[in-house]
């Protein structure tokens, strides 16, 4: 089994590689770096535009490979690493194809800065989230792999029926990496209603009830044996998901696991609205587990 990194310098590739190195080291998996290149136009053109494009693609591949090796040497990665140049009609097709061939357990990709903090997904990453059959790890912008690799897995638990699958998936990752698991639930204070006929405290009461319910649901995970009694549970609340995520501590080396909902064969997974908002507010790497 392997960790496949979708690598392209300048497009979140450096951060993806950093996360790939950390995950492969912690999970004791082989690291495979995939440089997806555009397929040249096979029909010869009069002005030899096709030749120029083929030459650009080849140069891009060489430069990317050099940069990948440089990054690996910076981290003194001694474990076996594969670097692959794949030419396909799109990056997502290339990554999907190679992930299967290389028996990838995780696919790692980069993200973009978001104006209001957190990170957003590029078009390729969005497509992969909706089509990937394997967990997709997303590295936040400016991410640098911590020296000790992964230190813990925080599972975003929604206290719904689907939520237990995510806990089980995150628990497997944590035990494979030999790091601690933490179960976290995030709640946002609903907006007040105006005019406030029953006072501006009403929604805080609703949030308090949600906290009670979620605390009970988290405890039920322990009593049902889904998580070990030593697993910490935590609840973060705030005015929005960015604040709710920031309300709990994030030690270096922590990753956040979130779940998706199965939908249809066409769109294999559906990232729920809550998961999307959590993704937008996250400051640590996020592993999206297919539903």
């Amino acid at each position: 089994m392997t960790v496949v990194v979708g690598y392209r310098p300048g497009f979140g590739g450096e951060e993806a590689l950093e996360l790939g190195i950390a995950m492969a080291g912690s999970l004791d998996l082989r690291l495979e770096i995939v440089i997806a290149l555009p397929r040249p136009w096979t029909t010869p053109s009069m002005a030899k535009v096709d030749a120029e494009f083929a030459s650009y693609a080849a140069r891009l591949g060489e430069e990317s490979e050099r940069a990948a090796h440089a990054a690996l040497s910076r981290h003194s990665v001694t474990a076996p690493v594969g670097v692959h140049r794949v030419t396909e009609r799109s990056v997502s097709v290339a990554l999907t194809k190679v992930s299967g061939e290389l028996e990838a357990q995780f696919l790692v990709m980069g993200t973009r800065h978001r104006t209001r903090g957190g990170f957003s997904l590029g078009s390729t990453t969005s497509r992969m989230i909706h089509s990937s059959e394997i967990p997709l790890a997303l590295a936040p912008p400016d991410y640098i792999a911590p020296p000790g690799g992964l230190s813990g897995v925080t599972c975003a638990y929604s206290a719904t029926a689907d939520g237990t699958d995510v806990v089980a998936g995150a628990s497997t990752i944590a035990s494979s990496a030999g790091v601690r698991l933490r179960v976290a639930s995030f709640g946002v204070a609903p907006a007040d209603m105006y005019p406030p006929e029953v006072g501006l405290d009403a929604e805080r009461g609703v949030l308090a009830a949600w906290v009670d319910q979620t605390t009970a649901a988290q405890s039920a995970l322990r009593t049902s044996g889904l998580i070990d009694p030593s697993v910490a549970t935590v609840i973060g609340t705030g005015a929005d998901y960015t604040a709710a995520l920031a309300a709990i501590d994030w030690p270096a080396g922590e990753v956040l696991a979130i779940g998706t909902t199965p939908r249809s064969p066409v769109k294999r997974v559906f990232l729920g609205s809550t998961a999307t908002r959590i993704l937008g507010g996250a400051t640590v790497p996020v592993i999206v587990l297919p539903g």
Binding site: Y194, P195, P196, E197, G205, A209, T215, P229, A232, V234
Partner: protein, 498 residues
Amino acid sequence: MAARPTGPAPLNPAPLSRSTLLRRKPIPTGWAAESDTGLKRNITTVQLASFGIGSTIGTGIFFVMSVAVPEAGPSVIVSFVFAGLAAGLAALCYAEMASAVPVSGSTYSYAYATLGELTAMAVAGCLLLEYGVSTAAVSVGWSGYLNELLGDLNIPEIPHALSAAPFDADPGVVNLPAIILVAMCAMLLIRGASESARANTIMVAIKLAVLTMFVVIAFTAFNDDNLTPFFTDGAHGVTLAAGTIFFSFIGLDTISTAGEEVKDPQRTMPRALLAALATVVLVYVLVALAAVAAQPTENFAKQQSAGLAQILNDVTGQTWPSLILSAGAVISIFSVTLVTLYGQTRILFAMGRDGMLPEFFTKVNPRTLTPVNNTIVVAIVVAILAGFIPLDYLADMVSVGTLVAFIVVSLGVIILRRRQPDLERPFRVPLYPITPILAIAACAYILYGLHWYTFVFFGIWVGAVIAFYLLWGRHHSALNKPGPDDAGLGTPTTEAAP
């Protein structure tokens, strides 16, 4: 911050004793400085007055005239002034109570903290009428204006059978638009939608604009012959109409509920209350005067739905003024329905948290973070009322519930002053104890004017609520089990490591 139990209250039999029935919910202290709603002490006098105007205008003025004018004739103007005065006095008492008992849940919570569990349940019964039934009443009014709007736009109107209640003066089968409106509002609430402060301001502007337009146009048909005789049924008529229209003043107490967020409550609250009261009474009196002077009293009884729009139609002989007014009414009554339906769900939520209702009512959907079960139950009950009960019956039930709730609050002010004189009160009613006594007297006088059958229904309803409490709520009350008063809602994180 609300004192709250930390989970569902299990069955824990409580004796039928004085101490059980009069037990009170502890009042949290030190709330004012720690409020963390993000709006802490940010609300200005103008905003506060806008809340009051926004939640008051729209609950009744658009459709109450067709019921109230036949009762009092042109003297309905006096009824508006009198009802406004009573509502204003009660709102002052409400403001002191809200400032002394900083908990959510409206009058129910204030009563629970001051007058005890049994009274709180009786008040809850009143509030179910104030919020739940008023939601039904305004959605019935909305239905009338929607049909008027469709007619003005040359779109086929909804057939009478599907837009009138079966027990109406002109019976139909079901008031379908009213049911659809309630369903739409419930769906928005389930999804977590809420009206923002800015939307409220826009709604206030729309309401004031269309009512001003009505007054200006209706005054062009001013005929002082229509004002004589002024008192068609003497003082009795005035009182009777005051009872009917009282529900047009529901919402003035909103100013009090936002009291903890204002900068200087002792100065801001009375100013905002007076500003809102003056605006609302002025608008209502002008609308009433313009309406009764524009057409003979006997015409009002025929205008069961969309009364104001129909007056504009008759006065101008054109459809555009009626179209504008109907459009304004449809938009603003939608907003009023949303807000009152919300208020009802949150009162039931507060009761559920106190163990006075089954845990079902406090269940929060983890995806939407809203009390979905609660909202669905409220919406179904309100939709049934809106679909099958005529407006005049609904209006009287709302008024009786509100008036009794206001009396309880005014009484609560006196009791709390005697029982806990040193309690922190950022706002105190002026001229104590004259103000609360006058508020009680004014509300009681208006109650006196209501129909006897209103009291019968009211008595049966409150009796049923009290019976439910004695048989179920008493044993499930959160006060049966000792626990922390407050688990720290303001605390951003809760970490439960073993």
